[in-house]
Amino acid sequence: MARYNLEKQLNILEYALSSLWRRRMKSLSVLLVFGAVIFLLASFQMVTQALSDKARQVLAHTPEITLQKMSAGRQEGIPLAYRDKLAGIFGIRRVVPRIWGYYFDEVRLANYTVMGMAVDEMPEGARLDTALARGTMPGPAEQGRAVIGSSITNALDLAGRDTFSLFRPDLSLKSFVVIGEFSRDTDILTNDLIVMNLADARDLFGIPGGLVSDLCVYVANPTEIETIAKKISDALPSVRVLTRPQIQKTYQAVFGWRSGFGSICLLSALAAFVILAWDKASGLSPEERREIAILKVLGWETRDILAVRFWESVIVSGLACIIGMTAAYVHVVYGAASLFRPVLMGWSVLKPDLHLLPRLAGGDILLILAFTVIPYLAATVIPAWRSATVPADSALGG
């Protein structure tokens, strides 16, 4: 019995394949449109998932608490004297001041992120040289030395020299000697960075003594981060307190379907699908109705006709799914998500090598199947059932 059923299904599958081949131009166009929709959805899902994944892995090492001073809704310099107020809070292990900001290069129209700090005070600061492709990090006493991200080497055209100059706010020039370059492996974090010591950053940005951009606070017991953050908020009401879990949470929510581009991807897919479903649900063509009627006259039952339509839909949607998802993976991994880069990076002049590698979990595949294949099956089988229940003689015009 089982063998009979298997043989019957195989024959029905063969009939479905022949039927698709007979209407090959139509089948191919549906397959291509359907595959393109799945490619779009899967590419977006893979890019956002790979970026969130990377952020989750690397941002587990951000400062436990970051303090910024706010005034009139904007960030401003935070007094170094605040460290004295923090000294009374039990559980704080270390407070490291930083000066950082953006430098807009008007010649190259590029934005650099300039950071100044005493790296030897930071956790893992002594190991930072291992993140460099060449050179060493500047020491606290080394004035006018900088370590730069790999894109800055290209932007400043530093291939044959190791000095460059940046303008201070009063338009006087400050020169730097490049003593190291970050590895391309760290591009996703350090691509646009220029790292120097605190005094150089203060001089470059013209920040008065006694002020810094933010304070990185490290605690003795990581389970007490929230408690200590609350104590800091109480002690320094004008300060914005950002904790490591908040930063990690931001990156788990910052890429998603609710973003403008994500919504466009989703809505285009839905619109394409609705058009497809409308076409199917509005009824079969006279040829298809005649074919069904002939099959019924020849002795086919309604459930056999439904099985043919089901197999046709499974073949088209399954193939579209495999082709669309494979193309999306190739686009993201080997093509570096090139179709999305204009939106993902916008007018950025410095563009990192992202090295995206999505982790395809069962849930992600199910999400794409649920949005595409399952509704398509429903949209094709239901009109076939309506048509298959029509008496054969009326369908043939008898």
Binding site: E14, L51, V58, L59, M122, V254, I323, W347, L354
Partner: protein, 93 residues
């Protein structure tokens, strides 16, 4: 050749391609895991809070330390006009 057999062969070809991509993905994953150590050192040693993906606007360069209202703070009535603003959601706090 029966149509089902031809179809099965085409399907096998696609699955073999996916298998090759999977194997290459495993090798790439191993290389990425090795690079992850460098990324962890850079994040920890410099106290980095954000990914350097979009460098055009400060709120997409450093979303974790920016306010959701930052895109509209340049002047009264400012509108958000950077392309990356369409991809990145504002931080949730």
């Amino acid at each position: 050749m029966r149509p089902a057999l031809r179809f099965a062969m085409f399907l096998c070809l696609l699955l073999a391609l996916d298998g090759a991509l999977f194997l290459d993905g495993l090798a790439r994953r191993k290389a990425q895991d090795a690079a992850l150590v460098k990324l962890e050192v850079a994040a920890s040693g410099l106290g980095l809070t954000d990914l350097a993906v979009a460098t055009e606007a400060r709120y997409t360069r450093h979303p974790a330390v920016s306010d959701p209202v930052a895109p509209f703070m340049d002047h009264p009535g400012a509108i958000e006009h950077f392309p990356t603003g369409a991809f990145w959601l504002p931080p949730q706090r």
